[in-house]
Amino acid sequence: MGVKLLLEKAHVEGIRYYDVYRREGGYRSVEKALKQMSPEAIVEEVKKSGLRGRGGAGFPTGLKWSFIAKPEGVPRHLVCNADESEPGTFKDRYLMEFLPHLLIEGLIVSSFALGSNATYIYIRGEYAWIPDILEQAIEEAKANGWLGKNILGTGFDCEIYVQRGAGAYICGEETALIESLEGKRGNPRIKPPFPAIEGLWRRPTVVNNVETLAAVVPIINLGGEEYAKIGVGKSTGTKLISACGNINKPGVYEIDMTISVEEFIYSDEYCGGIPNGKRLKACIPGGSSVPILPANLLLKTAKGETRYMNYESLADGGFASGSMMGSGGFIVLDEDQCIVKNTYTLARFYRHESCGQCSPCREGTGWMEKLLKKIDSGKGTSADIDLLWDIQRKIEGNTICPLGDAAAWPVAAAIRHFRDEFEWHVSNPQLCLTQNYGLAHYADPIHVPAV
């Protein structure tokens, strides 16, 4: 049983409500932070903890906090990014639904550290029932003196507001989120200036993921150094993984980044293996935008070492033979899944969610979707596969925000690792409509795990 920091109390009856949460030791970190620590000390503690952004990019949180500009007389803001729209990711929803006070607690401490008197939670529109839960938690916290004016007699004022988005994936990008929060069209801004200098209402702003801000609570409670001992290397602490796809036990799991991918998929503590005795074909380990990996490269790196569930190990081998930790949306595909169809589905998503601001993403995502649909319906040619590769190459890195990259990577990885399956679709136009390619040689050296 691994260490649990965030979901430790998730199964306590009534933990959603203040009384139970407080009884179970909630809001200790606020007392400690506001009474005993200075804002700089908290930032220092987070830096020491080695906490990395849990939203996908994995940027060190302490470093991000230290970048925030502090001009005299200008308010600063903390924004919680709860626009969790990455296909396959649902960890923040779980956290907000069952442990709303954990997020509020993390937000109060982080707001204190950053000097934000008005903190916002930007939540995606589809999570229609969660703003009520959060607002109730905010009310409870306020009634008990954890929010509002002069918190705990320290003279620090903080208000938390919940703002619903209208359901656009792009509003999870931090500058698009800020635009949307300001009431504008959710187009990403061109950087620089970065939000730490000029963000919400042109004031210095930090945007962090729900899980990142919740992780501040155990960091303050344990101390940064103690937190950094959990995990391995630069992947410290615990990470929530939302596992879905062809597994026996889909759900949100907290891992301490030391277990192997194989153990995560097959052990009964976590995903519990693949149903119906099917074999593993591929996996998208970090939410839909990260490169898909075939089974052999998922369990072992190209060098033949065991792959672990942490930032470094999953990225081992770069994009040629590795992937990314991403947001922790772990999607498992068994032998019955068609990679072409899967890639088409993702391409369709990105075409639909592109904001249309810059040309490579606006036009390229649509083009890729049409080509993938063509190949999937058995009308493709082998030139289409090369064309697809060329299109993704021209989108990647040439766009304003990372959505272009996110749209290009899944297509690139699918062609890189599963080209034979694409070619089979081209050479068997009739067969591919009724039958799946199944497992290819890349999945062969799979042994039955002993876990």
Partner: protein, 366 residues
């Protein structure tokens, strides 16, 4: 900020510019081919740029202090120069490749209806695709279409031609009291539209026609009247109480076909003699269509590299040798002698002998 000068090297040409200048403007200072093309950036509009990605350049050296190159290509219109920066534009294969890709993306859903488009001849997208694009397209799907919007009696919107540069949105925001149009929807079905069918009526809204790099927003009073390359640009002015009144008339004979603002060599509106940007009002643009309304200053020089500037090229060197010289003395071979009568149309059929329009059977039954 003090007048600090930064040295920046673009395509091996060094230029000194004040701190805070963008790479694009530094390159424009050098001029010529070194200046990256820009479809969405407009120096007179605040906040424009960064969207079309045609001005991508490679930064080979960040600055004197931090010589690391930038990993990604950057949009030169929104990246400011640093002292000692080295930029590669046309000397970088990566840039040319990416730019060709962007041109292909821009043309993907563009209808290529240039033969009937009023913008043809002065279209930035035409120039861009001639200079940086490829010959053919690899796109084989249906191009996207939109529901038509009527923007009133002055401005014609062709949404299919739009490349979503947002220039018109910025213009309306910064020039008129109240913006009535904007971008609706997202992704490849994003469109310029008024929210509820409404005409654009504002004294300065006509300027969106001038800033539009393609034929998406054109002048309804000039629609299908003439081709721009048949009309002659003439500088003219009048006393206008709303705007600077300094315009360019597009004339054929004595007839004024079109009135636009004066443009500089980058296709942007020039500064007027009062030092402000020479935006013109709707009155001057749409209503004053008689030569007698204007005081004509003289022919205007178009230095932009499009069809309208043919014959205006500066520093044009005419080749001295003739075709015969180039081909080592041999006469050019004519691929098709137009004096030969084609057999395709059956010259034996006397069409004038028919008392009705000719039909395919008239040829087939021979």
């Amino acid at each position: 900020m003090s007048e600090q000068l930064f040295k920046v090297t673009i395509d091996n040409i060094t230029v000194e510019v004040p701190a805070g200048t963008t790479i694009l403007n530094a390159a424009r200072k050098i001029g010529g081919e070194v200046a990256p093309p820009a479809m969405c950036y407009y120096s007179k509009l605040q906040g424009s740029g960064g969207k079309c990605r045609t001005c991508l350049v490679e930064v080979a050296k960040g600055s004197e202090k931090d010589p690391r190159p930038m990993p990604k290509l950057v949009a030169s219109c929104r990246t400011t120069v640093m002292d000692g920066m080295e930029v590669k534009n046309i000397t970088s294969d990566r840039v040319l490749d990416a730019r060709a890709g962007v041109v292909e993306f821009l043309l993907l859903n563009h209808p290529l209806d240039c033969p009937i488009c009023d913008q043809a001849g002065e279209c930035h997208l035409q120039d861009l695709s001639y200079e940086h694009g490829k010959v053919g397209t690899r796109y084989e799907f249906q191009r996207r279409t939109f529901k038509k919007h009527d923007l009133g009696k002055y401005i014609q919107l062709h949404m299919t031609r739009c490349i979503l540069c947002y220039r018109c949105v910025f213009t309306a925001d910064q020039l008129t009291q109240k913006r009535e149009h904007g971008v609706l929807d997202r992704g490849d079905h994003a469109e310029i539209a008024t929210h509820i069918e409404k005409s654009l009526e504002n004294d300065f809204i006509g300027n969106v026609i001038d800033v539009c790099p393609v034929g998406a927003l054109t002048d309804k009073t000039f629609r299908f009247k003439n081709r721009v390359w048949f009309t002659k640009p003439v500088d003219a002015h009048r006393n206008c109480d709303k705007c600077c009144g300094e315009v360019q008339l597009w004339m054929r004979g004595d007839e004024v076909f079109r009135v636009t603002a004066r443009k500089d060599e980058w296709g942007e509106i020039k500064d007027a003699s009062n030092g402000k940007t020479g935006w013109i009002c709707n009155d001057c643009r749409f209503e004053k269509k008689k030569a007698s309304d204007w005081v004509i200053d003289g022919p205007s020089k178009v230095s932009r590299h499009s069809v309208i500037s043919q014959g205006h090229y500066e520093k044009l060197v005419k080749p001295k040798e003739t075709v015969v010289d180039v081909m080592n003395g041999s006469q050019p071979h004519l691929f098709l002698d137009i004096h030969d009568v084609s057999e395709v149309n059956k010259p034996t059929v006397t069409l004038s002998a028919l008392d009705r329009p000719a039909h395919s059977t008239d040829f087939g039954n021979q």
